[in-house]
Symmetry: C2
Subunit: 335 residues, 2 copies
């Protein structure tokens, strides 16, 4: 088993078109609703995990900064404990992680980070898990990370069992299915968000008066977007995505106290995208738990959209993504 | 009857703290939910109506501009017809109206305008209506105008009868009840809105997935805000108002197609008001069907709030209002 004590994994970010917001089980991280995402290339996380008897405690370094306590540290330990429990080992670990994307700015760094950590720690611990088992392991570290295990178009099936054994991600189509599809991530603020996703979700489930109506309609969004993706109907897929994102933010606005991730620049871009559509340039936005706008577009329109974005004051950075691969193991370690 | 053929009325704007959004009867203008507003001073509408056999058609002038057709014109004719039917007259009328507030910018000009028109046309037609009858008459021209008939704290009871005879405004407290209470209207855009309130409401009732949850919770907001007003509990009143306004905008965002009245400046001010509160300066916002922010505050904090507002780039104009009177008849006519 010794040869497996060190492993490195890379995972891409997962951005949902039909969103995940709210858990039915806080410990196992079981979602209130099934949801659908695309795993995107370029932006991701790389993590090396080494279990070694020489470590007296778990060590965690993210983007060059060591965490010795706090929420981030606790989540890493929690994920390591899951792998240790499965592999029946008690060794402490060193974890070094790098994000290719801004951390905690609504760019899904927690999804790619937790997926890479789950994969690296499982492999380092000598486990040989299939993608379903790895998805379940990863889910318990950070819910949406279970989708990052797989490439392309991914559904996270909420499942119904209390132990979470049927709540995992399944690939609908791989990353080569729809090569014309692009997502432009538009960064308008690099400030870390004040309220983290996990706390926000919990607050919504507890206090939001619209949450029952979200649950009553989100499965229909999911069904319709799956049909749209199957038919490669970009218009339909875009409309459902935009509406679902607005529903998500409507939930957050009406949570008590309100969760308002939008910035002035976010609203400016919302209006811009809708105006472009009125002018015949087809694009749809989605927004996650942060201020950044992500624009869904077909490849033929990307350069036009970029030109328009570059003229706007509030736009700090634009990166164009394409559907990307699932988790991969790397032979080159970070330490 | 001749002496009554000309009359002039003034009505103030009505700004809701628990909002009205959606009709259960489009013709009689019966609301889906009871709602609560304050009639505010300073901003209002003055309207002179004259019925005269010399007019060959109804003439309508608003803020110096004559309307000969279109939605505004049709609404005025509709209101005149209601008065003519009640008074059993067939004379054509000349209507001259002036708004003290920007028209169609989310500053409730349609409420004060329709209330002044209803009162002036009823009096000019020789009718002698009490405030309940006048409220019902006004409601049929523009729903929320029924609240502008009365001063101070006003509830528009939705009623349950199909003929609308029990759907009218009642005064809870007059304009002198809570003299410390102020509302700062903050104009961030003077552009006329593209989608008018009436069309937006209809679209929400037809397509918004959260509308059932709005209806299921809005009467509770109403009950609680009435208790807060009774106790002059500003904090509670403010919290309910802000939450209810966010619910309204969440409904609009998730209507198909989405109705997004917020501008970048709107979001900037939302964050500002919430930040001020965190710093101990108590203020709450409400937003109607437009981009403008209205800030509820106690008189002692108004100057501090104004200072902060005047430092913000997006703020075009700030006017501080106090609870105002209901409809009044003026002896000086506009023509």
């Amino acid at each position: 088993m010794k040869k497996h004590l060190k492993a490195t994994a890379h995972a891409n970010i997962s951005m949902a078109l039909v969103k995940y917001w709210g858990k039915r089980d806080e410990t196992l991280i079981l979602p209130q609703n099934s949801n659908l995402a695309i795993t995107w290339d370029q932006y991701g996380s790389t993590t090396t995990v080494e279990f070694n008897s020489s470590y007296k405690r778990d060590i965690f370094t993210l983007d060059g900064q060591e965490f010795k306590e706090g929420e981030e540290y606790d989540r890493v330990i929690g994920q390591l404990n899951l792998a240790r429990k499965l592999a029946k080992i008690k060794l402490k670990a060193k974890v070094v992680s790098q994000n290719e994307v801004e951390t905690q700015a609504g760019l899904a760094s927690s999804a790619s980070g937790a997926a890479a950590l789950a994969a690296a720690s499982a492999k380092a611990a000598g486990l040989n898990l299939n993608s379903k088992q790895l998805s379940i392991l990863s889910r318990q570290g950070s819910g949406s990370s279970c989708r990052s295990i797989l490439g392309g178009f991914v559904e996270w099936q909420k499942g119904s069992k209390a132990d979470g054994s049927d709540s995992y991600a399944v690939q609908l189509y791989d990353e080569n299915y729809w090569p014309q599809l692009c997502m432009l991530t538009v960064v308008v603020s690099t400030k870390k968000k004040e309220l983290k996703t996990r706390a926000g979700m919990k607050q919504t489930v507890a206090t939001c008066p619209f949450y029952p109506c979200w649950l009553a309609t989100v499965e229909q969004d999911l069904k319709e977007i799956k049909q749209a993706i199957k038919a490669k109907n970009f218009t339909k897929m875009g409309e459902i995505s935009e509406h679902n994102a607005l529903k998500l933010h409507a939930l957050m606005l009406t949570t008590k106290p309100s969760i308002i991730y939008w910035l002035p620049e976010t609203v400016e871009l919302i209006h811009q995208v809708q105006n472009w559509r009125d002018e015949g340039l087809e694009a749809y936005f989605t927004i996650d738990a942060g201020p950044q706008i992500k624009i869904l577009a077909l490849e033929k329109n990307v350069s036009k959209i970029k030109q328009r974005l570059n003229k706007l004051q509030g736009v700090k950075k634009v990166v164009t993504l394409k559907p990307g691969k699932g988790v991969e193991y790397l032979s080159r370690h970070l330490f």
